[in-house]
């Protein structure tokens, strides 16, 4: 069993000073990611020094993270003039200005006597001629990828002013086998597709996994008892637990922002579905909706005061918002077509959704009162948005006509920088974790 989740134990950061550049002046190099079109920032990421290749491995992961964000344009190493031989010394800024590197990353990875890796890196403002960041991290070698993601997050945050999202994981449904008898099992991986691990064995269909805010636990729906039911799963131990004991199907689970409750749909005997919460400590169940309709896909606002959900009480699936106690249920989607899978942004200001119109499926966002709808991507079949913890990127799954199965993709809130997420098989229902190192 890997130790990746025990972040506080493993990864320690220490700020590195440097004699040559101590002035904490305002950086010249910055990215304003609130502009509509962002020109990616040219950045030179040098190979981190180490005796055994682990330095190069870590710096290449940093480079890949930053490149995929669409906000950075790493410069090819062939263009580099200065060869960094002492990462503790200031670089020759002129050599990096010549190749128009706005920012420069240098570093070194070594092994401590106790076996831990020590990774040091510095971020330089080339045209400002100063160090912006100097930090070192200690971690077990098994966590070298996490060190790289944390370094990438640190650079992203320093240059954009917003939290990164690289030290995160994705839980999803791995799909294999023929479409008429497809195996659907839960899997987890790093946000860049590395280190895939399967969480269920595939003997029964498992769907709609979602992270708890603690990052240690997943709630999902499975057919393992014969009747579809909501479960909890401890990621590290594999321990599973049925949520409640209900006569009908339970589905569409999500955690409350404090992780104390699971909100889900319960099928009524008349064929309609309503929304309930269960307190995971007291096991008390509370009914929130009671319509003669399908009420499903509930998602809390980050401050827990409101819930967004799908209902077809008006004739076709639309998005509604209600208070956390079920009060004031109001429709907010009026754009024509049907709407489902609403998910509240971690920033609280937007709701992502799937919209069906004109024979296409779209992923979009709207404000929490339904205004300001923006469609990010349209296609034959795509659904199930999930937010990166910084609220800047949305992941979803897509099936092209004739493709045979779905794949994972991410897109920026701007509708730009669409990226395919590599998975071993077909994949659906991605859910993004919070930042592993505390957010």
């Amino acid at each position: 069993m890997r130790q990746l989740l025990k972040t506080t134990m493993i990864i320690a950061a220490v700020t590195l000073g440097i004699a040559a550049a101590i002035a904490p002046a305002r950086a010249v190099v910055e990215i304003d990611i609130n502009r509509g079109v962002v020109e990616p920032l040219p950045i030179a990421i040098t190979e981190f020094l180490s005796g055994n290749g682990v330095g190069a491995e870590i710096s290449s992961i940093v480079e890949a993270d930053l490149k995929r964000s669409g906000l950075f344009a790493p410069i090819g190493k062939d263009a580099f003039i200065e060869k960094i031989s002492n990462p503790d010394a200031a670089p020759r800024f002129e050599d990096w200005k010549v190749i128009n590197a706005q920012a420069l990353v240098t570093g070194r990875v070594s092994q401590e006597a106790d076996g831990r890796l020590r990774a040091e890196f510095r971020l330089w403002d080339v045209f400002g001629g100063q160090q912006l960041i100097g930090e070192q991290f200690f971690a077990q070698p098994a966590n070298k990828r996490r060190i790289a993601h944390i370094i990438a997050d640190t650079i992203y945050e320093r240059l954009t002013g917003e939290k990164g999202y690289f030290d995160t994981r994705i839980v999803f449904v791995d799909e294999s086998g023929p479409k008429t008898d497809r195996k659907k099992r839960l899997a987890i991986m790093d946000q860049d597709g590395a280190d895939v691990r399967f969480l269920t064995d595939g003997r029964s269909i498992a769907l709609t996994p979602r992270f708890s805010p603690s990052r240690q636990e997943i709630t999902y729906m499975s057919y393992e008892s014969g009747q579809p039911q909501v479960y909890l799963l401890q990621i590290e131990t594999g321990q599973r637990e049925l949520v409640g004991n209900f006569p009908g199907m339970t589905f569409a689970p999500r955690f409350s922002p404090d992780g104390q409750k699971v909100i889900f749909s319960l099928l009524r005997d008349d064929g309609n579905s309503n929304i309930f919460t269960m307190d995971l400590r007291s096991r008390n169940t509370t009914r929130l909706t009671n319509s003669n309709a399908i009420d499903t896909s509930p998602s809390y606002s980050p401050n827990s005061s409101q819930i967004v959900f799908t209902s077809d009480r008006g004739g076709q699936p639309q998005i509604y918002v209600m208070g956390a106690d079920g009060s004031g249920q109001n429709r907010i989607s009026f754009g024509g077509g049907s709407y489902s899978t609403p998910v509240w942004s971690p920033r609280g200001d937007l709701i992502a959704f799937t919209k069906q119109t004109g024979g296409e499926f779209q992923i979009g966002v709207m404000r929490t009162d339904g205004s300001g709808e923006r469609i990010l991507t349209s296609g034959f079949l795509q659904e199930g948005p999930t937010w990166a913890p910084n609220g800047r990127v949305i992941m979803f799954f897509r099936q092209k006509a004739g493709a045979g199965g779905p794949t994972l993709h991410s897109i920026d809130l701007t509708g730009r920088n669409e990226q395919a997420i590599p998975t071993p098989n077909f994949a659906s229902d991605p859910a993004w974790s919070p930042l592993l190192n505390g957010g």
Partner: protein, 167 residues
Amino acid sequence: MGRISRLTLNPAMLILALMLAVAGCANKQTPNTAADLGLGGGSATPGSPQDFTVNVGDRIFFDTDSSSIRADAQQTLTRQAQWLGQYPNYQITIEGHADERGTREYNLALGARRAAATRDFLVSRGVPANRMRTISYGKERPVAVCDDISCWSQNRRAVTVLQGAGS
């Protein structure tokens, strides 16, 4: 998969299954029974699951995003109710399904509503409710896998599955 493996025991049924698959992607019609296909079902033992599937029709189909029992489906379910009255030892699972033109969670709910509507119709035709359980597979278990309406219309279905017991 249980149904498929049962079908393959009988060569005539295998042909039927193949024809259903071919007809499904070529036609907008959704054949319910062997009789609809002009096959006849004479080889099935009366009271057997094959008899039910071939001569009665084990499934009904729905319109897009609807759980209303269509007129053609009412005929099928009426035949099912008569047959189930004749062979009262079977327990029944009604599977509700949706096509892929909806999102996953909503389609789980829609499949459940279709299964409940099917069960309620059978109850109205005299099948005791305690013989039946329902389950939704949403869009997770399509029978037809092309990417157009000819397949979607076959996947929007409720299937009456006979459980063990026998007549």
